[in-house]
Chain length 481, copies 2
């Protein structure tokens, strides 16, 4: 057990907090013999599964179908789209040897799957009737990171990459799908209570091979931004590289139009980071493996009655589809049990002591606010369900408020720089739209241009913070992970 | 669309049938640019998911917890257990390069995960209170196969490896867990209606690093046996290699005892192979993505009524948790739709024509027997549920009967050899138990020793088919995949 950091220095020592909470709460063990690879522990695996289920439901209900493509990509495939390969070849793990023999063509461990999927699309897509084709998969992807790795946030094996790949007959349909992908991700993060800003990345920071990239960023407690999801319009770049065409209604051959969008393990990290506190993680009820834990408060006389009451509650709550557990361990005090379940973020704790049994009541504590309340036993199910719902809402609202209070609109460079040095969050400034000014901006503030707002549209009336010319855009900047 | 083979030559051309049915039924596309790697298609993925759910439920309800370990294993870890590494190093894909740099230590793509897990067990297990520890994961594993690859049956990327790894305080507990693992697998295959023989593999064919291995084998339509699951007692071999010890109740340090058991993609292939026919696959209702398909039989007058009836049925069946779909495609005749859904193995077909609407009846056809029956509309849900249950039973029974009729007890070598040449199935012969005789047996019949019956215990009274000495065991032999 590694101690968590205290609330006072939480934001400054957020990295340490996160690393410790992952192992203490039984989510991920990062001590694997290969740097940047970690083990998803049983409790973390359940959280992961519940989070994945939300995304799977959203994708399934919007016409996406889950599939599973091979891990290894021949260098010859990866190399077909020239921008793509230039960006990724230096970041790939390469399989060069089979048994004791060198391979004739080396294989990349997929860093992303466009070039694993394209050769199959070529086989599957013949005519306009085969389009649109919307696939997704949940897989491990690999990056030979040379930067310092961080648990979940920057891994060499990203064990939970959720990537969608869509093919369309026209540019317009692909454009609509980019919006569709963004809608799915908005709903996904809203469900998790994770606040975000959506920005169109500057041209120099788009996905290699895309026409443009749109990204979801959140703000970490230490004021740095974290990219948690991306949506790309690939245009016909991969279609041309792999010669994937379809027959139009009037018998012509056209290249397909593609989009892709993905969320890495950061989609899970985001929930833990946004809602966590110095007692551990706080899980939104929908994804909590255990939504309510019952803790008997021991007493010599009433033990039998207390255990019976606990059993009754469990069966009632289970019937109402609440994921509930009773902590009957005899070697731990109630206080130690409280600590144990708080660390793991279980939304509701139900305490049953002799007085509760007597009064036919239960004491319920919320993980997010620590508020306690008593309720009549025969109202317990209703109260638990209402509390869970309220908690999800409150967590989302609190998180959004916090984030909004960390987004600033600033009109000059100096103040922008100061705020970033104080790790204030995301700063919005006016920009003339020229790449030179963008690069100069990044250099001067020593931070990253996240891009142009895609979530909020407004009339721009100001001057570029770099050149002083008329601004055509708002642009967001931040210290980015 | 590749044509299936006809029933007459099905058993001889089973390999061809299997390859074609996988792609025609939308299960796996094997045309990926790397040999031995395939794509799980959306329909196949759903079948896979439903099959995995059965195993996950069985493992979860017997104290196993799902986790997820890294894919890459450093050569230094793989090499710790000497028997293990000797067996696997020539079969591994090796990652030797990160970006443009050679790696200092090369990494194997896991061929199985004992050596990925052991270093973590060393961190997690301190005392007897930490035992037993029963973990499992569902992952892709890799073998650099030099033999001819076959879709699902012999892949270089096994995309669906379900592996359990357990740690115990004593040899006896590990022994009991071997039985426990076997029980889980029996229930799993029983649920799928897949018949098997369980044999203890001869010493020369056990898992590298195990004390002994027990395997589940089925018989393919071509008379060859197929290993579909294995359970191993690892003893303390890996514990000693990785120095994984625990403190006993009386304060001593002891090595842990381990077992592991796994089922590859063959667990899925088995269902398709065992129940398939020359119309395609036949899925047990429990794993069918669509359990009943409703096909309207068009008619000029009654169209509106027919569609309304179909809708009513869908909503009734969905309420009863039947996975149901209506095929409303207008460009296909009913006959073409029958063919489409038969190929995909959908258990029940419900036809609704004008006469059915008039009589308030429905016509239901079973996929396994092609039997049709009519039933009153208000009994439909009950009839569908009863038929699904009956179908699962009948499929299981039929498969077991077929298998049993392909297991022979033979007392001399010549007849054994003849039967194997005719691809008759599994042959049981008497054996003195000596390895020399085992090897000689394999050489003379040009087949494989599967091992000693673990499922049927009987008194042995006969003479070794090789040396003529008193037999101590029955031993099973077969042409094995």
């Amino acid at each position: 057990m590694v101690s968590l950091v205290t609330r006072e220095n939480w934001s400054k020592r957020f990295g340490e907090w996160f690393r410790n909470v992952l192992i203490n709460a039984g989510i991920m063990d990062y001590r694997y013999p290969i740097k940047g690879c970690g083990v998803w522990l049983p409790y973390g695996f359940k959280v992961r599964r519940n989070i994945l289920q939300i995304l799977r439901d959203l994708l399934d209900s919007t016409g996406h179908e889950e599939a599973l493509f091979p891990l290894m990509i021949p260098e010859t495939s990866l190399a077909k789209e020239s921008t793509h390969v230039r960006s990724f070849e230096g970041e790939c793990f390469w399989v060069t040897q089979g048994g004791f023999e060198p391979l004739k063509v080396k294989y990349a461990l997929r860093p992303t799957s466009e070039t694993a999927i394209a050769p199959m699309l070529k086989l599957w897509i013949r005519s306009h009737a085969d389009l649109p084709l919307k696939l997704y998969q949940v897989v491990n992807v690999f990056r030979y990171e040379t930067k310092a790795t961080r648990p979940i946030l920057r891994m060499r094996e990203v064990a939970t990459f959720k990537e969608a790949h869509t093919s369309h007959a026209t540019f317009e349909e692909a454009e609509a799908q980019v919006k569709g992908g963004m809608e799915v991700y908005k709903k996904f993060f809203d469900e998790l209570g994770v606040p975000y800003r959506i920005s169109r990345r500057p041209d120099w920071d788009k996905f290699a091979g895309a026409l443009y990239s749109v990204a979801f960023d959140m703000i970490c407690p230490d004021g740095r931004s974290l990219q948690i999801g991306t949506v790309h319009n690939l245009g016909q770049n991969f279609a041309k590289a792999f010669n994937v065409t379809y027959e139009t209604k009037d018998g012509k051959q056209e290249y397909i139009w593609q989009t892709c969008y993905g969320i890495s393990g950061r989609g899970i990290a985001a929930v833990l980071i946004v809602h966590g506190d110095d007692h551990g993680v706080v899980l939104p009820p929908k994804i909590a493996p255990t939504q309510a834990v019952i803790i008997p408060i021991p007493s010599k006389e009433g033990e039998e009655q207390i255990n019976k009451t606990c059993k009754d509650i469990v069966s009632k709550l289970k019937k109402a589809n609440v994921r509930v557990e009773t902590d009957l361990r005899t070697d731990l005090t109630p206080g130690a049990k409280f600590y144990y379940w708080e660390l793991r973020g279980v939304p509701l704790r139900i305490e049953i002591g002799p007085r509760d049994v007597e009064k036919k009541e239960a004491t319920i504590a919320r993980r997010d606010t620590s508020e306690k309340q008593t309720c009549k036993m025969d109202e317990l199910v209703t109260v638990v369900q209402a509390l869970a719902e309220q908690m999800a809402k409150d967590m989302r609202q609190k998180a959004w408020q916090w984030m909004k209070s960390h987004v600033y609109r600033i009109e000059n460079l100096q103040e922008t720089k100061k705020l970033l040095e104080k790790r204030a969050g995301i700063i919005e400034v006016f920009w003339c739209g020229k790449a030179e000014c963008g690069h100069e901006l990044e250099g001067k503030i020593n931070a990253r241009v996240l891009g142009i707002p895609e979530d909020v549209k407004e009339k721009v009336d100001g001057k570029c913070v770099v050149c002083g010319q008329k601004a055509v855009n708002i642009v967001r900047v931040a210290l980015a992970y």
